[in-house]
Symmetry: C2
Subunit: 96 residues, 2 copies
């Protein structure tokens, strides 16, 4: 790459789609009485993936993250994802 690159940090939040059974969320809900916690409901457990992308600009970086989220980090049949920009990152050792 001859173009100077910057490093951008993103989070990808992956959550079970509405209506999809979420055994981990149910397990959390069932643990609550043992902790003496009441009033908590609708618990959904997903994944959060944080990563750094080296690219010429934020739009290029975002495109990489979108592809990664759709093709590798989520199962589109049962999960939804949202990309959250976390700002520019220190351009440390970027080994793709």
């Amino acid at each position: 790459m001859s173009e100077p690159t910057r490093a951008y940090r993103f989070a990808v939040n992956v959550t079970p789609k509405p209506g999809i059974l979420d055994p981990q969320g149910r397990a959390v809900e069932r643990s609550l009485p043992h902790l003496g916690i009441a009033g908590v409901s609708a618990v959904r457990v997903g994944r959060r993936v944080e990563l750094t992308v080296a690219a010429a600009n934020e739009a290029d970086a975002r495109a990489v993250v979108d592809r990664l989220a759709a093709e590798l980090l989520s199962n589109p049949l049962i999960e939804a994802y949202a990309v959250e920009p976390l700002g520019e990152a220190a351009p440390a050792g970027v080994a793709g």
Copy 2:
């Protein structure tokens, strides 16, 4: 509870602490060349838990989430958590 309650939605983002080995993050990094994706680094895989808390006010709800995050949703030895308020929620079936 005689006091009127509201419902607040939160997310708890749980991530491996810096320096802690993250096998899932490594697995993602190793998959990238197969997808033809370069320039991605520092991948960390954690959990994202979304939940609704019924409480008299947001501060009370937040206190419940903080306790839940520290005692049930994260392992403080190896994980850090951050609580993210998602706003007031529809006060649907709140069965603690």
